[in-house]
């Protein structure tokens, strides 16, 4: 089976019903996306396909059509993506386990809406659980990332 992940073509041997998450983690060596629930209820496994935030734990790898971007492919040319930079500046992460998924959801949000309102943030991020309760800083960081992105553009 072939997939494009973070700009690279990779090949691996998987049953088509295997969720993309496990193909990435156990077969393709991409441990960035995390396992949290396996039932699309927590967002830890979020990756982006065709601009959409997708729960990779609930998408059979055989159904993947587009190129996959994970947290590991977000930084380019050794430079953090504005969302990652904002997360770093705002010191968002506590345990950090949910943050790959949070960052990917925020990345997809900002691709679609460059200057999101609080309500946009609520809608886009509601599927991403954080048991450490980093929500206040996530909100601040998304707004910061929006302005960083604008400044870089």
């Amino acid at each position: 089976m072939r997939l494009t992940v973070d700009g690279k073509d990779i090949e691996f041997d998987a049953e088509p019903d295997m969720p993309l998450l496990w193909a990435l983690r156990d077969l393709a060596g991409k441990t960035g996306p995390k396992f949290g629930c396996g039932v699309a209820a927590c967002g830890a496994c979020t990756v982006v396909i065709d601009g959409q935030a997708v729960r990779s734990c609930s998408l059979p790898v055989g159904d993947v059509t587009g190129a996959v971007t994970t947290i590991e492919g977000l930084a380019t040319d050794g430079k953090l993506h504005p969302v990652q930079q904002a997360w770093l500046d705002e010191q968002v992460a506590q345990c950090g386990y949910c943050q790959a998924g949070q960052i990917m959801s925020a990345y997809a949000l900002l691709e679609e809406i460059s200057d999101p309102t609080d309500e946009d943030i609520d809608n886009a991020m509601g599927g991403n659980l954080c048991r450490c309760g980093t929500y206040p800083r996530i909100r601040t960081a998304i707004k910061k990332a929006a302005s960083l992105k604008l400044a870089r553009a």
């Binding site: 995390k34 992460a93 506590q94 345990c95 048991r131 206040p136």
Partner: protein, 759 residues
Amino acid sequence: MASIGKIARRTFLFGMAAVAGGVAVGYYYYRRPYPNPLEGELAEGEVTFNPYLKIGSDNTITVIAPRAEMGQGISTTLAAFVAEELDVTLDRLKVEHGLPSYAYYNAAMLEEGAGFNFWDDSFTAETVRGLMGAAGKMLGLQATGGSTAARDGFDRMRQAGAAARIMLIEAAAARFDVPARDLTTDNGTIVHKASNRSVTYGEVALDASKLAPPSKVTLKEKTDWKLLGKPQKRVDMLAKVTGAPIFGIDVRQPDMLFGTVRMSPVFGAKPVRSDTSAASKMPGVVKIVPIESSYGSGFGVIADNTWAAFKAAEAIDVEWGKPDYPLSNDDIMARIADAARTGEASAMRDDGDVDVAFADAPQDRVIEAEYSVPYLSHAPMEPMNCTARLKDGVLDVWAPNQMPVLVRWFCSDIAGVPGDKTNVHTTSMGGAFGRRGELDYALYATILAKETDGRPVQVTWTREEDMRRGPFRPASVGKFRARIGNDGLPVAVDMRVAAQNMMASLMSRTFTSLPAGGSDPSITDGSRNQPYTIPNYRVSEIQVPDLPIPVTFWRSVGNSVNGYFHECFMDEIAQAGGIDPVEMRRKLMANHPAALAVVNKVAEMSGWGDSLPEGKAKGFAFTLSFGSWCGQVIQIADTPAGIKLEKMWIAVEVGTALDPGIIETQMTSGAVYGLSAAMGQAITFEDGRVVQSNFHDFDAMRIFQAPEFEVAILENFHRMGGAGEVGVPPAAPALANALFALKGQRFRSLPLSKDVTFA
């Protein structure tokens, strides 16, 4: 487990002997230093000064932060202790967890366990605190829990940095042939101003390491701190925003297999009939093996990938034994309620004479209430997992765990290899909240590693296994009464709190040969030790017998239960006495200036007493836990979609704020954790099995539900408190009290979602 029983008995007895037998016996043991565990693992050109510090000839400075990083920022704060005295900035350092070692014992955790009120400075309290600390050294508890890690490392790790700096300066002085006092340090370099010469720490590290450590070091005054007391950038933040493989579940070893477990859903039961043949033949499955352990019975699946293991585990055809405890949630809770009402109680606090005070109380001056809270799962984001390899007589265990020394004891015992042939690698943890102080995930991985001919195996639990097998936060029922005086203040308060004995439950899974009788102070933690002065004030513990549901520490432990009980009942007392709840606290806490300052601060921040528009209300609660005094006010609003949490104000007294940035995030984190449980979480039972299975029926607060937060950190008290758990206990009662203020109705049972819809 015989050998472990013996080790444990010996060490526990030593600990107890020190406490019981007086200073003379204990003292020698306490002073005897442990060997430096870094000696054996130095890289080329690297030297070590003490168990906390390595310096390479290339000036790479590595600090060992021997407490588990589970999101509380402890690795950053511990590194800052060494860095502050060594005179380097945090970005110059590498931070490692270190191998399990007795050198990294946690004294503060046992000191806290001594059972004295936190404000009690009396000779006995101080002596016993000191002795319990000594016992911690003997036990070699490299534990992370009880919000103790920063307090524990505060002196030891600063001294480690200061002593090394003195030695480095001496070595440089010898090299330059100048007096040490003419030298200064600047971020990893030693400078001789007069001759304009300088040398890095790394260049003199080897010479310095040969010098005798100074007999006395003087630590910096607080006013001279450059790092401590100021928010630091977390040392692991970059790794966490780039998806770096730092968690247990990210461990990758050559030739690694994957696996999972399927354990009995009935506590204490074994499979009575099973057939694994179909599951064994599924694609990718290597082997299915039975698991028998002190934690439970079931099966382990070894496979080529985690998904194959999950599918095969589900396909195992098994019938489990019958429960030997009540089957339904109602019956289990009734057992606890019966104990609260009629069980034999032991008073853990007993001021004045409560029985006399109630004997002649006029009926209309007495209020009574019964409260209850459910069992809870910790549900950390990273499900339980562990990777193990048993090869050539050496066991390696990669475990996101809070108890490396115990993991080593138990896993080496299972693998049949000596402790010194067992390497426990503690990874970063995707949350823990007490759950990773248990050992099951490590035991199971070790059991499976015996079946793989030397190949490493990573054993990941499904969320369903994680949520249903426990151990859980114990459920609890409290029965309370108060007599209100003519001035509206309570004359007498009598609280009976019933729950399972958590220590006994823990012992039944670990040190099975040790007796586990006696009191469990966690049952009343957060009720019996609050800074209120009430003339007749009794808080009693009642243990619920014969209930084998596995229970354990859950973020803030007994305080998460008793914070709710105590502070909601105080709110009821204030109402009955016709006094504003905050005003009543001011009166009852007048003897404790630290508490009073917190109450006043949070009242001022939140505009307590200001009039609110129709449909909005505020609630207040206060809990002293883990040495920190925390007051919270929450404001809620009734909206068409349900109750919305608008804003929470938190004031916390921590003594010394080592890193205000981290303390602030820990306060909001704790509050979110406590509010999540209060709003919607419960583990319930049907047919003796857990009903909930995943985040769809055991959810937590989402971003759109989170209130805005404002946190104030106070530093008035003379002793330092913890941070990681302190924000949890007042959150549930603040919310329940706000709901009362809004609706005029008491909510005496959690979760609140049984009675209230949240937006």
